[in-house]
């Protein structure tokens, strides 16, 4: 702007000079401002995608939860706001609280089993000889790698009423009433198989990572402990446990979050049945919302589930961030 006003009306030498400092070439201050903007521009694609593909659905979910949206409204494309009616209905009904309690118990049982058995397996890995360790690692990795839907199908076959190998073994072990047992016929037996499936799939992650973490414990610590007269148990509780505590803490929360939203295993094994008795919160939201076509209602359940998960996630992130404050 200033360059233009200062430029004399004519004269080739002046024009060239003006071009040199013209608007095509940024002044140092403008360049530094562009440099300061560059990181934000580079982050734009990822942020735009996150807002559009994650933020918008979350917002939409919130909006839907304040609407009376069933099959009729869906077909006619009408929006009927009904305030907090959905929440009132969900929160005063018995179903939601029963499912929430069930979800919590289900998650607790799974996570305790995963963490205890996973930790023991990880410690066992650290104790084994080289060849045996590799063998067990291969087994763990195979179970870890099994796609969820495929694994669920395999468990349906293992626990099949007729010709299922589990029933055959139980029968041979002398439990003859199990010979033709239908595992999908009751709440507890369905949960038993789903829990077994989830624990089987989740132990490898805990065990392998825990084993990897134990290999980073400095040997000197154990030497020092044994010089001080500590036995195997004492060096375990004073060296190994404190060293692994942050890892165990973070992993436990990760598992809580993962198990809490274990939609696929529960849904594909028995569809939340029998009689909707094995529905956990994500399955409940799906069956109410999509299955029974009470979309607004399903959205309200989803929002409540997301709030629970958000609380868990925030707590988990706090643990993780505290651990690596310096790395950020």
């Amino acid at each position: 702007m200033t360059v233009q006003t200062e430029r004399p009306p004519s004269g080739p030498a002046d024009v060239r000079k003006a071009d040199d400092t013209g608007p095509g070439r940024p002044t140092p201050r403008a360049a530094s401002r562009a440099g300061a903007l560059a990181p934000y521009l580079l982050l734009l694609p990822a942020c735009a995608a996150t807002v559009l593909l994650l933020g918008w659905p979350l917002l939409k979910d919130l909006l839907l939860s304040f609407q009376n949206l069933n099959m009729a409204q869906l077909i006619q494309h009408v929006t009927e706001w009904n305030g907090v009616d959905n929440y009132k209905e969900v929160l005063t009904g018995e179903d939601f609280w029963r499912v929430t309690l069930r979800s919590i118990l289900f998650t607790a049982a799974n996570v305790v089993l995963i963490m205890v058995l996973g930790t023991l397996t990880g410690l066992l890995l650290a104790r084994l000889g080289k060849r045996m360790r590799l063998t067990l690692l291969i087994g763990l990795v195979l179970a870890w790698a099994m796609p969820v839907v495929a694994a669920t199908t395999v468990y349906q076959w293992l626990f099949a009423q007729r010709f299922g190998v589990v029933n055959w073994v139980l029968d041979k072990l002398g439990w003859h009433s199990m010979a033709d047992y239908s595992w999908t016929s009751s709440q507890m037996s369905t949960f038993f198989v789903v829990t077994l499936l989830i624990v089987w799939m989740s132990i490898p992650f805990v065990a392998i990572n825990l084993y990897a973490a134990t290999t980073t414990i400095p040997k000197e610590l154990y030497e020092a402990a044994s010089l001080d007269g500590a036995g195997a148990w004492r060096s375990f509780t004073t060296v190994t446990v404190p060293f692994l505590r942050p890892f165990l803490y973070a992993t436990t929360f990760l598992e809580i979050i993962w198990v809490f939203k274990a939609f696929v295993q529960v849904f594909t094994f028995n569809g939340g049945g029998p009689d909707r008795l094995t529905e956990i919160l994500p399955v409940y939201a799906y069956v109410e919302g999509v299955g029974n076509q009470h979309y607004g209602m399903g959205a309200a359940i989803a929002v409540l589930t997301i709030l629970i998960l958000l609380g868990l996630t925030a707590y988990y992130l706090r643990i993780v961030l505290k651990q690596e404050e310096d790395e950020l």
Binding site: L42, P147, W157, F267
Partner: protein
């Protein structure tokens, strides 16, 4: 003496029992898939298949639309991985190499996004996609799969980018490379292993995705393999041979990828998932 023998033996015995427990379901899937039907529906299980048959695989792949579903799965998964990789490369590079206000906030934001509860967001996504008249299309599926794996890809790549010494890049720039050329010629080749393993995990996630495609794509031609597999048992009733063949076909690519990536898996996953 007897006691110490026991002390030496019990870890190995436990390990063998655990090994069998973890491997058996996978083994049983493959064994059933290759067994003749007569051996599958026998009163005593045939533990080791003696007659091998490929009949069940023919039944599984002979299903109408099978190859369309394979194509759909591959297209959606590969595109989602490629797009997220491109965006994540730029993003992680910016997060690692540049100093700016709010950097930490962005990292925490992506960590939060990584934990997004996609399983319960299906109703809202269904409404959005329906309002855009894009149900039964692969486009929204690709976009949302891309988003599902993007935060993980960014956070994992961040570790790999940080491991490339800044000096290498600077040396290339001193030698007359532009920043972009230095990135392409020096940084990118060093990042290749990281890109490989990160993209594999993205591939596995997208390949396995089930709830979203269940809600969005009801038409047979627009479905992906997880839906085909989950409906297999319902459609085929008690044809466990074909069902296990279908499971095997679905699992084999992932099992191969995963076993090869196992070493990277530990460092990659702990960097991405546990340590953020």
């Amino acid at each position: 003496m007897k006691r110490s023998l026991f002390a030496r033996l019990w870890p190995n015995i436990t390990a063998v029992v655990l090994f069998i427990g973890f491997v058996f379901p996978v083994y049983w899937m493959f064994a059933t898939a290759f067994k003749p039907t007569g051996d599958i529906i026998s009163e005593t299980p045939v533990w080791f298949p003696t007659d091998v048959t490929f009949e069940h695989f023919r039944t599984a792949t002979g299903v109408e639309n099978f190859w369309t579903l394979v194509r759909n799965s591959l297209v959606v998964t590969v595109l989602a991985v490629v797009f997220s990789l491109i965006i994540a490369l730029v993003t992680s590079f910016t997060l690692v190499r540049m100093r700016f206000k709010g950097r930490r906030g962005f990292v925490v934001g992506f960590m939060l996004a990584q934990m997004a509860p996609w399983e319960v967001m299906v109703i809202a996504i269904y409404m959005i996609v329906r309002d855009a008249s894009m149900l039964n299309s692969l486009v929204p599926l690709t976009a949302f799969y891309m988003m599902m794996i993007l935060p993980f890809t960014i956070l994992t790549l961040r570790g790999f980018v940080a491991a490339v010494p800044k000096e290498l890049e600077e040396a290339a720039m001193v030698d007359g490379c532009s920043r972009l050329t230095a990135f392409r010629r020096v940084v990118l080749p060093l990042l290749a292993p990281g890109l490989m393993s990160t993209s594999m995990f993205g591939f596995i996630t997208a390949w396995n995705e089930f709830p979203l495609v269940l809600v969005l794509n009801k038409e047979a031609e627009a479905q992906t393999l997880p839906l085909w597999l989950s409906s297999f048992q319902t459609v085929f009733g008690d044809d466990w041979g074909a069902t296990m063949a279908a499971s095997s076909l679905f699992a084999i690519p992932i099992l191969i990828l995963f076993v090869f990536l196992q070493r990277k898996a530990v460092s990659g996953l702990t960097a991405g998932a546990v340590k953020g």
